[in-house]
Symmetry: C2
Subunit: 272 residues, 2 copies
């Protein structure tokens, strides 16, 4: 195992999780439940070797994912790993709030974090003065009225490449930058008093989506004007933006990779 001279086997997993009971994808401190801990624990039991993940989206405590992507390297030979069987075994072992949606062999050069060209997040709002027991863990309840037109107008100045320091939890590290390219940002009216903010960017700094949503909801409530958004971005001042929206409304929906780095090998059908 590991000494056979075969090329390293890199596996790529697409994972969904309800983040409610977890302190985030990865540990911020010891002794807390993390998605990575639950998933690697199950993987290690099946594969019988240590598993260390590289992840596309390091989601915070209470944040969900439908299509987060991780990779890890295995010392096993490709013909030793039955991917559908691995996926089934791990999904049976995991609590139902973490699921491996796809398990594939990664193409050469694939890196779950660095190969990603874009991330799509969705943030869900219950715009009602009555709670809904079925979306308590997956939406932020904001009482009406909300000026959706103003919230939409306030999205325009966000598009394109900007220094998003106003919406980032921490200043950029000396070697880093809070410059990001926002590819899309839009409000979708789902009906039944549900609204969803869909946002796509090259990448996001910490709490960026939640800070964008908090600020846009301020606009919807009339606490800020849509016309201020341009200035809020340019100020690069955390205090200029609104408070971050709570984590339960946020979901990492999808990670985008270049076509040549899509995974190979199917998910469940072969062995089912």
């Amino acid at each position: 195992m590991g000494g056979g001279g075969h090329p390293p086997l890199r596996l790529r997993l697409t994972i969904a999780y309800k983040g409610t009971g977890y302190s985030g994808f990865a540990a911020q401190s010891d002794g807390v439940a993390t998605v990575a801990g639950a998933l690697s624990g199950a993987m290690e039991k099946v594969l019988k070797h240590p598993v260390r993940f590289v992840v596309a989206g390091r989601t915070d405590a209470g944040v969900h994912a439908w299509g987060n992507v991780v990779h890890f390297d295995s010392p096993r030979r490709p013909d030793e790993v039955d991917l559908p069987a691995l996926q089934r075994a791990v999904n049976k072992m995991l609590r139902p709030d973490v699921v491996v949606r796809e398990a594939q062999v990664a193409p050469p050069g694939f890196d779950a974090r660095h190969s990603a060209t874009a991330r799509l997040y969705r943030y869900t709002i219950l715009n009602s003065d009555v709670p809904d027991p079925f979306v308590v863990d997956t939406a932020w309840q904001v009482e009406p009225p909300l000026d959706l037109r103003a919230m939409r107008a306030a999205c325009d100045p966000l598009l394109g490449e900007h220094d998003f320091s106003s919406f980032c939890r921490k200043p950029a590290a000396p070697s880093g930058s809070n410059v990001r390219r926002l590819i899309d940002a839009r409000w979708v009216d789902l009906g039944d008093q549900m609204l969803r903010f869909d946002v796509e960017a090259s990448s996001f700094c910490q709490q960026m989506v939640r800070s964008l949503v908090g600020t846009l909801i301020d606009v919807g409530m009339g606490r800020k004007r849509a016309g201020e958004m341009s200035w809020i971005v340019r100020s690069r001042d955390r205090a200029a933006a609104g408070q971050p929206a709570p984590p339960q409304g946020l979901c990492l929906w999808k990670v985008v990779y270049p076509p040549e780095l899509q995974g190979r090998g199917s998910t469940l059908n072969p062995a089912s």
Copy 2:
């Protein structure tokens, strides 16, 4: 209080709840968490008098409701009860898995149980070989394939008035009957591997919807033929039908009343 000679005040509540943590709407034994217990506890704290509910749908353990209806009588005078304030106070007090969606003064003669002319239930299926962490508590995962066409054909013999003893948990009481009128029964393909069984009847006997779904899924999996459904109904034999589907997929969607017995007085807006 109660001795003023005013006509009794009957209040009507439309309630939603996620039944996951409850042993049903009403207690089947002492010392267990029930929806009625949670709701009456909160109501009594606000109104400061005992509250006894009459309910349209006595849902079982783990079954959800979006539009269950209850009534109770209050010794208070109508002008003593601020309905929007009552609704807000109770919703704040309750855990988020039980919610009062509407609080109204019931029209004369209204009885939540006996005035109801029909109940609509929905049963949700996740037809996938991969679990979905977001619907674990609200859908039954059934692995594909399912023959939806056969499941639809099997609905036809159910429509109309029949003795549904084959689908009832207990034989009818000596004074009772398991004859029910099925008004509608259909499968809706929601996309994303989700299916929903929508069924409407004058009323349902215990576990009837879950037994219907269990039998229809047997048809979808090829364990039973659609053509057998007519015989299963006529046999009045519990053993002829399939096992009840699990409770988490079931939701009491709506209770129907005659137009003249709709509630008066609005819900939240006046006091918000």
